[in-house]
Structure formats: structure tokens, C-alpha cells
């Protein structure tokens, strides 16, 4: 799966939880889930669970803690799907 495809799928997953819609226009690796998209931290758990379903992977507590940006999420997904 290409990096672009992962990021595209991620964008679809996060969309329902985004409070700052302008953040979606410029959705890239540096995009910060809390700061740029204003996803509330409780909903970030739902994002992670949706990522698990979409990519058929398990995400542990440490990975969750390090998942602050789109790029972080992409790296974790890439590592897990090998």
C-alpha cells in the first residue's frame, strides 16, 4: 500500500471527528490531530479503533501515545502492515 493511499484512507477515517474543517484542506503528514483538526482527545480513541478496523491491525498503548500527527499514524500503520 502506498503512503499516499494510507494517508487518503486516514483522511476518510478522521473526517467525522474533525471540528476544524479548514484543517482537512491541507491534510498532510505534519497535520496535528488535536491542534490542526481539533479532534477531541476522547474521539482520538475512536479514530484509532477505526484505523485498526480499516487496516486490520492492533495498536498498543505506546503507539497510541505517539500518534499525534498524520505522519505518526502513517508510520505506525506502515510498520504494522509490513
Amino acid at each position: 500500500m502506498s503512503e499516499q493511499e494510507i494517508i487518503l484512507r486516514l483522511k476518510k477515517i478522521v473526517e467525522p471527528y474533525v471540528q476544524r474543517l479548514e484543517g482537512l484542506n491541507n491534510f498532510r503528514e505534519e497535520t496535528d490531530f488535536l491542534r490542526d483538526l481539533e479532534i477531541n482527545s476522547a474521539n482520538l480513541v475512536d479514530v484509532v479503533l477505526d484505523v485498526e478496523d480499516e487496516f486490520d491491525i492492533m495498536i498498543d498503548n505506546d503507539s497510541m501515545d505517539g500518534m499525534l500527527t498524520v505522519g505518526d499514524a502513517k508510520d505506525i500503520i506502515q510498520n504494522k502492515i509490513g
Partner: protein
């Protein structure tokens, strides 16, 4: 963990405690009850002419049983040593189907949707004394543990 042990760990007291008893609890669900005494203060104003239990209070009752009591039980099962966990409601999406008059006993049933990364999300239903569904919805909360416990 018994009903009384769970209730004794709740951070609420009268007039904001809306749990009388927990009748059943396991890893997947919890059932509890509460009697809405006609003496409760809010009936004087909601409404001026006809007392009805406010929806926010029904939601609070569902949350105290379905999220907080359940969360205390789940944390305890993880052998967490905390005796006073902090649980903050993070979202509620509830439909109100029937009014609850003063003097009614309600039963709340909460089923776990997931408990991951310290977030507990549940499908919660409230039934009246006639076993009719009075409200239903989804509630979620974060269990703020000061010790970092795993919930995998």
C-alpha cells in the same frame, strides 16, 4: 466486587447520587437501579405545574450506573490499586422516549461497546417499573487513572 463496594467508591453523594443498587455486573455489562423520590428538589421547578424527571437527570443516572459504576468494576478487575478513580463523561447521545414521574423506580442496563485506551463507551438503556424502555443511547467517558494501567 459487590454492589455496596462499587457504590461506596462513587464520588457522588446526595443530592447528586442517582444509584441505589447494582444487581448484576460482569466484564460486558452492568445493571443497576434507582428510585426517584418525590422529595427530590428539582421536581419543584421541573415543571412548575407538573413534576417530571428532567432528561439531564435521567442521563446522569444512566451515566452513574452505566459508565461510572461499570468503570469502577472494570478498573478493579484490572487489579488497579486506585480506590477513587476519576471518570469524566466525554460524550452522550440519548433519546428520551417516555416521561419518568416522581416516585418511579428505574432500571439501567449498560452494555460495553469497547473499553480501550482508558475510554469506556457503552450502549445504555433505562426501563421503568413496567419494564418499558424510557431512554436509550450511547455514553462514553475517560477513566482518568493516575497510575498508568493497561487496558488491553
Amino acid at each position: 466486587m459487590h454492589s455496596d463496594q462499587i457504590i461506596s467508591r462513587l464520588p457522588y453523594s446526595s443530592p447528586f447520587l442517582f444509584v441505589d443498587a447494582i444487581s448484576e455486573v460482569n466484564e460486558n455489562s452492568i445493571t443497576g437501579s434507582y428510585y426517584f423520590s418525590p422529595e427530590l428538589d428539582f421536581y419543584k421547578g421541573h415543571f412548575k405545574t407538573e413534576p417530571v424527571t428532567p432528561g439531564v437527570i435521567l442521563t446522569e443516572c444512566m451515566a452513574q450506573i452505566g459508565l461510572v459504576c461499570f468503570g469502577i468494576y472494570l478498573l478493579n478487575s484490572e487489579n488497579s490499586e486506585q480506590d477513587q478513580p476519576k471518570i469524566a463523561m466525554t460524550s452522550s447521545d440519548v433519546e428520551y422516549l417516555l416521561p419518568v414521574p416522581p416516585g418511579e423506580e428505574v432500571r439501567v442496563v449498560s452494555e460495553k461497546i469497547y473499553y480501550r485506551f482508558n475510554k469506556l463507551k457503552c450502549r445504555v438503556k433505562m426501563f421503568n417499573a413496567e419494564e418499558k424502555l424510557v431512554c436509550r443511547g450511547e455514553l462514553a467517558g475517560m477513566i482518568l487513572a493516575s497510575k498508568s494501567g493497561s487496558n488491553e
